[in-house]
Symmetry: C2
Subunit: 288 residues, 2 copies
């Protein structure tokens, strides 16, 4: 049982974990800290947290576990603020979408990745933001990636594992580099495509008519373009190399496809679509 869990940034992810751990009876007290008073107050009113603290020192005082749920661009500043106030035995973890940048921020602030700081990333979310959008079931049957290193404290790692398992998730460990590559492919690239598609269409002259005739496929395809702009700004700047590499691969493939359309090369088109359909059907059979 965790006596005090402090959540730094009570948004969709932090809020949903708080709700899940409450349902599981895993914490005695959940304290929330946030940069702006209104959303924090709202999280308190919704019963997501037990106590709201606007002072970060007061928030982490006596906390066994500190979960950082801020956008990755704010990570370094938050760690800097936390550093003097963390309890010596406190276990720290985060939910940032990019792990290389979080480890770099920790190294910059602490000199090393502290053994009791276990970087993490739940592969779950919706296009909505904020504690209002949080729900206890968000992580059920979803995967959480942890990226500890050789110096990581086994007890701290076990505790963070257990935390996510209590929220219903499957916990997997991988290297920071592999995480950032995998996420660039499966999450960051698709978001770039969805944002760019919607923006391209919105800039067309007859954009009202265009959107009017969009069907269900378009609605699903573009759902992720409703995601939080600040969060995605941070992700782009914090997983730049892996994302740019995936963007280049995608653009190369798209250019080849456009070339086949231009040349009327039906065989190449059919091959591409069949290969993609087979891969997508196979993925869906395993994971949908």
């Amino acid at each position: 049982m965790i006596k005090r869990l402090t959540i730094i940034g009570v948004g969709l992810i932090g809020g949903s974990l708080a709700r899940a751990l409450r349902v599981a009876g895993a914490c005695e007290e959940i304290v929330g800290w946030g940069r702006s008073p209104e959303p924090l107050q709202r999280a308190l009113e919704l019963g997501v947290i037990d106590r709201a603290e606007s002072d970060i020192a007061a928030a982490v005082k006596g906390a066994d576990v500190v979960l950082i749920g801020v956008p990755v661009g704010a990570m370094e500043a938050v760690l800097q603020q936390l550093k003097p106030h963390l309890e010596p035995q406190a276990v720290v973890t985060d939910v940032g979408s990019t792990k290389g940048s979080v480890v770099a921020a920790a190294r910059k602030v602490f000199g090393i990745l502290p053994p009791r700081f276990i970087p993490g990333h739940p592969i779950a979310g919706t296009e909505k933001s904020g504690a209002e959008a949080s729900f206890a079931e968000l992580f059920r049957n979803r995967r959480v990636i942890l990226t500890p290193d050789e110096e990581s404290d086994p007890d701290a790692l076990a505790l963070v594992r257990q935390l996510w398992q209590q929220a219903g998730a499957e916990v997997i460990e991988m290297s920071v580099e592999h995480h950032d590559e995998v996420l660039a492919a499966t999450s960051h690239l698709p978001h770039m495509l969805a944002f760019t598609l919607v923006d391209t269409l919105a800039r067309l002259e007859d954009h009202d008519d265009i959107f009017r005739f969009a069907a269900g496929g378009f609605r699903d395809f573009t759902r992720i373009a409703s995601s939080d702009p600040q969060m995605w700004h941070d992700i782009c700047l914090n997983n730049r190399d892996a994302l740019l590499q995936m963007l280049r691969r995608f653009t190369d493939e798209l250019n080849i496809l456009a070339g086949a359309i231009e040349a009327g090369d039906g065989e190449a088109l059919l091959e591409t679509f069949e290969r993609a359909k087979a891969a997508r059907d196979d993925y869906c059979e395993k994971s949908c």
Copy 2:
């Protein structure tokens, strides 16, 4: 009341219209024709059609209305086969995803777009194919675009309008060119992006791991990559110019975005994502 409706190609769209018109009590008899005997037999067993005909002359004999539901690449050959057997007063319509190519095929076969041939396209579908996937509610509250021209027979147009309205759809008229541009933007381009994304990822070395860590956003984003390859092959070849133009616009925007990521231009990224989110939220408020 239509006495005899003949559906040429009883797939998802033709089959769903047959089911909807049956529920509405709009037809006395629904006859189906298909190139392959098994799927046609299956449509008969499922009660989608009343009678299966493998001979196209027998299928259209006595039909008041002929609905063509074959992929657009098969349109010209099907019209050629139909031509000698159509009743003089028969109303013909189609559900092809590209309209310029359908009108061109009609002109090639008949010399003109026959006044009683009303080209149409329901903006509805799923990633599934075949009469097995058909359901009567597919067109409810969806839009159907008709692209008649100045020579079109008003009675034929009124009949096709009524047909779709009886299936629960809203009917809209527009020019062939505008249809093909709008659909290139809202449907054909997104399908190219989904097919290309899945294919790009499937070609990565660690593709099993990649797909394993894909989350819900990826599942929704790639759903349309499970669509019928042959149908999309046909669409690409039959709406080539409008699709290539949209692909170029998209690629230009994606290159600008990649440039902003590479340059670390956070302001440009934030602006793009905010504009896209606003457009997508606005679209969703009106149509989701």
